[in-house]
């Protein structure tokens, strides 16, 4: 296009302005990030997305603030990069905060960019990945910064259950900023790099007198194991982004689409003899339920969610004949696989996610019940345990339970009870299904006989055996139609494939309502 020679060439001007805007905080900030062992906002996007697929939004947006010297401190992009791109061919929307520009702090226009990206993602029905590395609200912009957070939280909530939302914490995330990740579906943290807390160590020291370091308070290790706020912990940023890509490979783009399919691998076979030796028949002998899972699902590939939190339950994603499923298993190596407050929360949230995004649920049940004790009762195990019942009852994706060894009491109802709406309940021949374990049951039912006996211990043993003979086999439940197939361990994969094929297109309507009232 011809142009006036007195004026700068518009194309050159565009290139110059684009280059300046893309530099964000500039070379100095890039160097600072690298010195701290961190990547820049743009490097992170490059790591996440397929090469050359990023389309940036609002590159030229700048802060409108003028108070407290902000007119002299404007930064192109206002400290955040937003846009869309592809991850292994799947459209995703991205926001990446740039700590090098105004500390990645969230002001009015910074928030506006994120909000716009969220709205576009909801229109497009595509997942959102937010990369957080921010000092928090930009104090200079006052209530406008808070209003920005409010809009982001509102959109996080609107998008919940509609499109998958993933948060990656790769720096500080403090104060109000923590609530956006907390609302999203999955939170990734990097060991030694990520920090997330509502109030910092100084405030805690002033208010409660406690001495705590930043890492002890809000590091990746503590959130992935103790608080459960983080679902995944990576050793570095590269591993973190690789894990995000892996997670996305299991997920549909939105709540209406089907999950993506993979090729069916050669291993494991539908009848896998290796499974025969995994589960000891003796109810008190522990085994790692992950050994069972990796011998059943495609290629032994299992992406565990919350691997270090509430270890008595294992949840995660795997594929069965190429189709993604949500996998749940009680973990006998940790607290004998009981359900307690934390494991109930972990399980219920996972079940609700799978239900929202059309991922069938497969349970490997080996559960002695809910954990007894005052700590649990005072902590509200009733309320938390009820979440599991609510989540499974509410879910209308295919639900399949395999009773591996024992399934007792309320935990039986939650994890394998036909009455809760399970489509298929399978069991191994040595499965025990009862209100409680044989020891406890015999002591209650035969209290008088045991008490009056000349040799109470001998009678107790006899009664325990009697109870075990009746209920320590799955045939009683099968007789009542509460177990519909009894299989050998080696047949597990084939049986689960058939169960899923049978229920793949199930329809199960629910009464129309605004929403249920899950016991939070």
């Amino acid at each position: 296009m011809p142009h006036d020679s007195e004026r700068p060439d518009p194309i050159d001007e565009l290139k110059a302005l684009t280059s300046r805007a893309q530099a964000l905080g500039g070379e100095a900030s890039e160097e600072r990030q690298h010195k701290q062992g961190k990547l820049t906002a743009r490097e992170r996007i490059d790591l996440l997305l397929d090469p050359g697929s990023f389309s940036e939004l609002n590159l030229f947006v700048e802060s409108r603030a003028t108070d407290f010297g902000m007119d002299a401190r404007r930064s192109p992009g206002d400290g955040v990069i937003t846009g869309s791109g592809y991850v292994n061919g799947q459209l995703v929307f991205v926001a990446s905060q740039d700590f090098g520009a105004l500390g990645g702090s969230l002001g009015e226009m910074h928030a506006e960019k994120i909000v716009k990206m969220q709205e576009l993602a909801m229109k497009a029905g595509a997942p959102i990945v937010t990369i957080l590395d921010s000092g928090g609200a930009r104090i200079h912009e006052g209530v406008l910064a808070l209003h920005g957070y409010a809009q982001i939280f509102h959109n996080n909530t609107q998008a919940s259950g509609v499109i998958p939302q993933i948060s990656i914490i790769v720096g500080p995330c403090a104060g109000g900023a923590v609530y956006s990740p907390a609302i999203t579906d999955f939170v990734f943290m990097v060991d030694g790099l990520s920090k997330m807390f509502i109030t910092g160590p100084e405030v805690i020291k002033a208010v409660t007198g406690e001495d705590v370091t930043v890492e002890e308070l809000g590091g990746g290790a503590v959130h992935s194991s103790t608080s459960g706020n983080a679902h995944f912990l990576a050793k570095d940023e590269r591993e973190c982004f690789a894990m995000v890509k892996k997670l996305l490979s299991f997920l549909p783009s939105n709540n209406l689409d089907d999950p993506p399919l993979a090729e069916t691998p050669e291993w494991p076979p539908d009848e896998n003899p290796e499974l025969d030796g995994v589960v000891p028949a003796e109810a008190t002998n522990p085994y790692d339920v992950r050994d069972l899972i990796t011998n059943v699902f495609d290629d032994g590939d299992f992406l565990e969610v919350h691997a270090d939190f509430a270890k008595n339950i294992v949840v995660g994603f795997a594929r069965l004949k190429g189709r993604p499923v949500g996998v749940v298993g009680n973990q006998p190596t940790h607290l004998a696989g009981v359900l307690d407050i934390d494991s109930s929360d972990k399980l219920a949230r996972f079940v609700r996610f799978c239900d929202a995004f059309n991922l069938p649920l497969i349970n490997f049940v080996d559960v002695p019940g809910y954990l007894p004790g005052t700590q649990q009762e005072y902590g509200g195990v009733i309320r938390h345990g009820a979440k599991v019942l609510f989540a499974y009852s509410e879910a209308n994706v295919p639900k399949v339970a395999l009773i591996v060894r024992k399934s007792y009491g309320g935990a039986y109802i939650a994890m394998s009870g036909f009455g809760l709406g399970y489509d298929r309940v399978l069991a191994y021949p040595f499965a025990e299904i009862a209100v409680m374990g044989p020891e406890g049951a015999a002591n209650i039912i035969f209290r008088r006989e045991i008490g009056e006996a000349e040799d109470p211990d001998k009678v107790r043993e006899e009664k325990i055996d009697e109870y075990r003979t009746l209920f320590a086999k799955p045939y009683t439940a099968a007789k009542y139609g509460l177990v519909d197939v009894i299989i050998e361990p080696r047949q597990t994969r084939g049986a689960l494939i058939r169960a899923l094929e049978m229920t793949a297109h199930k329809r199960e309507d629910r009464p129309r309502k605004k929403h249920g009232n899950i016991p939070l």
Partner: protein, 106 residues
Amino acid sequence: MDAFIPAILLTIIGMGVVFGSLIVLMAVILLLEKFVGSGPQEADPGAVEQEAATKGDDMELVLAAAAGYFLETERPEVYVPPVRRGADSLWARTARQGHPIQRRRP
């Protein structure tokens, strides 16, 4: 300074003993190889060919691993298998039936 000359002498004697021992050892090995050892045998070309033919699959794996190493395309620690998504998105089909998202403004 008095200790310097004995130290040098000691070093030379020590090194001499070590090198001398090594030379003797080398001579012993050469003599043993000459009189006792059978030396490297000539490979039977037929046997090699047969082995290569029966282990064809392993060879492919070895070659693939070597190529993967040099091209940095080995299976990474976090493996993501290729997946395919449905071309016909129910989201897209039903999009026009719903209500457009209303943007909230201050």
